[in-house]
């Protein structure tokens, strides 16, 4: 009951937020955070719930973004069509990656996704007839106001969380977690582990590709270094998941806001209050953050919420 009420209040705040906070700057940050909710949730489905850690979600994000961009520049179709197809194309690439990697066990999948992200960055850089290479793709934004983008991002973030929530309550969800816990046991219990790892990957790549296509529409500019970035996309997806809490539904949502907030704090050198060099320090701080989270909050902010309450807020809760 209390939980439902909290969700309703959260929903209402989310809907009225841009009507109250009209600053384009803050609206922009929240739109980006909502986009990261989608990517983080998608990464979490595959890595957190299914146990298949991806170091290359930039691959799916970039493919989604380029699909939308190429729709405009080469096919002269609205980039919004790319929103639907960005996810589908990313899914096709996911199908190929899974088909190749999931027969093998161990770290192959993680390594293959890492390589995959880099390969697609190189393809996007060098296949100039299709992608315009390093020049990138520039389109004309559909809306001048940020409001429509905000609501689209909100709807997509809600959709991705809700779909993943439903999946995790279904047979598929049980199978994903079983595979994460013990692949041999899962096989002997009748679970086609290769098939279900692929299903998880397909859902994950679809949502990530959709987020990429949204990014193209919203930012109106992409180039290979931005959307296929190991650092800003693949690693960020992992951070969003880990900081928020892997294998929790709301973890990536919380992680997205924390990470986008932190990133912006550093990018802007503490909103101009600190010396400019601090903006260079964010990679270091992110590294320290990961160490801190792994040591003290291995289940992330959401997974270890009770622990945080006990230690930080000193609110008595039932013993663990």
């Amino acid at each position: 009951m209390g939980k439902n009420l909290a969700y309703i209040i959260l929903g209402v705040i989310a809907v009225v937020f841009p009507l109250v906070v009209t600053s384009d700057y803050y609206l922009h940050l929240v739109i980006i955070a909502l986009m990261w909710v989608i990517i983080g949730s998608a990464w979490n489905l595959l890595a957190g719930y299914t146990g298949q850690v991806s170091f290359g979600h930039a691959m799916f994000f970039g493919i989604g973004a380029y699909t939308a961009g190429i729709f405009v520049t080469k096919l002269e179709i609205s980039a919004w069509w790319g929103m639907a197809f960005g996810g589908v194309v990313a899914m096709l690439i996911g199908l190929f990656v899974g088909w190749v990697c999931f027969r093998l066990r161990g770290p192959y999948f993680a390594l293959a996704t890492l390589a995959g992200g880099e390969i697609f960055r190189l393809i996007a850089t060098n296949w100039e007839e299709l992608t315009d290479g390093m020049v990138g793709i520039l389109i004309i934004q559909t809306f001048t106001s940020k409001l429509p983008y905000y609501y689209i991002a909100l709807a997509l973030a809600f959709l991705s969380i809700y779909v993943i929530h439903l999946v995790m309550k279904s047979k598929w969800g049980y199978y994903f977690v079983s595979i994460r816990e013990d692949q041999d046991a899962a096989e002997s219990l009748g679970i086609n582990t290769t098939l279900y790892k692929n299903i998880s990957l397909l859902i994950s790549s679809f949502f990530t590709g959709m987020a990429g296509a949204f990014y193209m529409n919203y930012m109106a500019f992409i180039d290979p270094h931005v959307v296929f970035s190991l650092h800003y996309i693949s690693i960020m997806a992992i951070l969003v998941g880990i900081v928020g809490g892997v294998a929790t539904i709301m973890g990536p949502a919380v992680g997205a806001f924390i990470m986008v907030g932190l990133q912006e704090t550093f990018r802007s050198a503490f909103f101009g209050l600190a010396p400019a060099w601090t903006s260079e320090a964010h990679a270091l701080v992110f590294g320290l953050l990961v160490i801190f989270v792994i040591l003290f909050l291995p289940n992330g902010v959401v997974g270890d919420w009770q622990k945080i309450r006990r230690n930080v807020f000193r609110i008595g809760t039932s013993s663990s």
Partner: protein, 241 residues
Amino acid sequence: MALLEVKNLTKVFGGLRAVSDVTFHVNQGEIMGLIGPNGSGKTTIFNCINNYYPITSGDVIFKGNSIKGMKTHTICHLGIGRTFQVVKPLSRMTVLDNVTASAFCRINIIRDAREEALGILEFCGLIDQKDKLAKSLPIGGRKRLEIARALATKPELLLLDETAAGLNPSELDEAIELIKKIRDGGITVLIVEHIMKVIMTISDRIHAINFGQTIAEGTPEEVANNPAVIEAYLGEAYAQC
């Protein structure tokens, strides 16, 4: 009628012949014991039956058809359930979720799968632990969970690999009762067990191996009185008494 036939089964690991030309069958409705000293190849035979390891040569026939080379999960769907000697609980799932995940083998609707899982937990005496994480169970509970999970896949043939090892005497009696109940429920059982009390009381027939090769087969008395078995296996165990 033979439910399972293992024919001339051989499994080689590198230079080691872990199982060498073993042939036996399991009749519908019986409890068949498989015994042998440590490292004689019992677990390897199980792993070959459900293709956890590919077979080097020989064949495995289930209900008249060869299942050699089929995927492990397919073999489960065909009706062969197994437990692992080194238990493999789905640690960070609850006991109920462990069994529910297995029940999805035959049931697609979540409410029905949970219902089925609850029934099996009741049957296996784990119902009080249903909301605990599997990793928090003591060894006796984990062994039961192995059995419960395998049962949830509704097997016709159940392979039990040392499910009584590590249990205390009262747990042992419960385990024997449980295995008998499973057989009475119409499930054929192939059981590997070191504890003589268990294997001799519940088996209808016993197949004995040593160094991966068959040394005897027959009723519990026949096998217990077989010189080769006494030499290889019982001798070692009884010599210590």
